[in-house]
Amino acid sequence: MDASTPKIAVQDLSLAYGGTEVIHGITFDVRPNEILGIIGPARSGKTSLLRCLNRTIDFVAGTRVTGEIRIDGADIRAVRDVHALRRTIGMVAPLPVGLPLSIYDNVAFAPRCAGLTRRAELDPLVERCLRQAALWDEVKDRLDNLGTALSGGQQQRLTIARALSHQPEILCLDEFSIAIDPVTTMRIEDVLRELRREITIILVTNLTHQARRLTDRTMFLWNGRIIELDRSEVIFSDQPSRKETLEYVNGIFG
């Protein structure tokens, strides 16, 4: 892929729930193989933005999306197979949602639904995903146990493994480290650094340190508007171009 063409191009995107607009015409690009951080206070539209990307927003009644999102140049509203679109995007929610299946079946769920059923192909895939999510060593002897019986942090890593299971080109992590201890968080961050060679990552986080450590560029989203989007060195420096960014990053946001 040519590095100059954006992986995701968002053009004048607005989103309204009922009559209330929560995202007000934002425009930005995500470059291939970068890690884009999205920071911003609660209710600033971060999660809603992610849900627009994989069109799970379609299932929320009474929403209206205007503007355009292109992935690899293709308008996502025009794609014929929305399920294939969703498989190109891995999504990790802030609170872990283990499906009521075994650990193995949780990870094998999406590949199976996509038509991969041979155990010989599934086994290595499941192992690779669990390794990437830094969970393999803890669960390799009990893959048949119920996924929902894992601890909160383990379940979160299970959802990361699951999000990688359909070999996405884009991975969206929505505050993935809420339920995970710092050591494991670091291990997953290492994994993310490794993964970026193959995929593009969008990382929503409220931990500004995490964004600083991990991201190439960071977007500061506030009340459904992009306040600033720049290289992370700039955003987290003493002189971002906007005063609000400096105040938010330093925790003195009014």
């Binding site: 799970t56 299946l101 075994s102 769920f109 639904c113």
Partner: protein, 312 residues
């Protein structure tokens, strides 16, 4: 706070609950306990009173339990040779119930899935009202439909000599069970956490994969309960099957044979049997048998659910 000490810095005493509140809470606990236990008491009382009416015949030499359970000959009022065999009646109940469930379970579960996943909110509300209306139709009305409408249709389309038979009773019972299965099943499907649905959809599954791989497995206990309530209604139903199945004591050889069920038999004969007579007592024993069958069905379902849980 009411009790502040004179020195401002002192910690105020921990507030204690008034005695009245403590006793009140204990009273409520007792009440809840009593209402929980009352279910057991009622079941035992019902069993006791049915059994008390039936018991004397068990010890009479003119009666044999083996004959009662395994003979097909039911001649309770014969002058020369009285026989009380309920096998044909049990077979009738079984045949009608099984047929009803074969018809009702796919439609009921399918209806529940449709309501919860595939239809808009307005259509859903309308359908739910109609389905609940369907559940409220008295059984005698169903029986009347079986006797007149359905029976004529069956004679016309199958060429059976009589239209009141297993098929007729099965269809009527299915029609009565479907609304129950749909409304309870829909509740069970609605109880599946939205987060499961969202997680699965984000993984790119189709609607059907969502239904078969996430919703149905996650709601299986509730769905089984819905089916069981349907079975319960089918086994226990009396008036409709009395009118729709033809009332012939025989083991059916096909779905176009007329049968008589345990319940219909009790309803039809209890009024004729003099209170306290042998016939009367045997009819009560039939009630005990019915009770036992229902218990067995429930127990089996319970074990299935537990088995499913233990395997996980």
């Amino acid at each position: 706070m009411a009790s502040t000490s004179s020195t401002g810095a002192a910690v105020p005493p921990r507030p204690t609950r008034p005695r009245r509140a403590v006793w009140g809470e204990r009273g409520i606990e007792l009440l809840i306990y009593a209402s929980g236990v009352s279910a057991i008491v009622f079941i035992l009382a019902i069993l006791f009173f049915i059994f008390r009416e039936a018991a004397p015949v068990l010890f009479s030499d003119r009666f044999s339990l083996t004959q009662f359970l395994f003979s097909t000959e039911w001649y309770p009022t014969s002058v020369s040779n009285v026989r009380y065999g309920t096998l044909a009646l049990s077979a009738g109940t079984l045949a009608v119930t099984v047929l009803a469930m074969i018809l009702a379970v796919p439609f009921g579960v399918g209806g529940a899935v449709f309501l919860s996943q595939f239809c808009g909110p307005r259509l859903r509300e309308t359908l739910k009202i109609i389905i609940e209306l369907l559940a409220a139709i008295p059984s005698v009305v169903w029986g009347f439909i079986g006797l007149t409408v359905m029976s004529r249709l069956i004679v016309t389309y199958t060429g059976a000599p009589v239209g009141v038979n297993v098929l007729n009773g099965g269809i009527i019972l299915a029609l009565m069970s479907v609304p129950i299965i749909v409304s309870i099943g829909e509740d069970a499907l609605k109880a599946v956490p939205d987060s499961y649905v969202e997680a699965a959809l984000a993984l790119g599954v189709t609607r059907w994969q969502l239904v078969f791989r996430v919703l149905l497995p996650a709601a299986r206990h509730g769905l089984l309960a819905a089916v069981l309530l349907g079975v319960g209604r089918a086994i226990g139903e009396t008036m409709a099957v009395l009118m729709a199945t033809g009332h012939a004591v025989q083991i059916p050889h096909g779905i176009l044979d007329s049968v008589r069920t345990l319940t219909a038999n009790i309803a039809a004969e209890l009024g004729e049997a003099p209170a306290g007579s042998e016939h009367y007592q045997v009819l009560f024993l039939t009630g005990v048998l019915l009770f036992a069958i229902t218990m067995l069905v429930n127990l089996a379902a319970d074990l299935i659910i537990r088995g499913a849980r233990a395997r996980k």
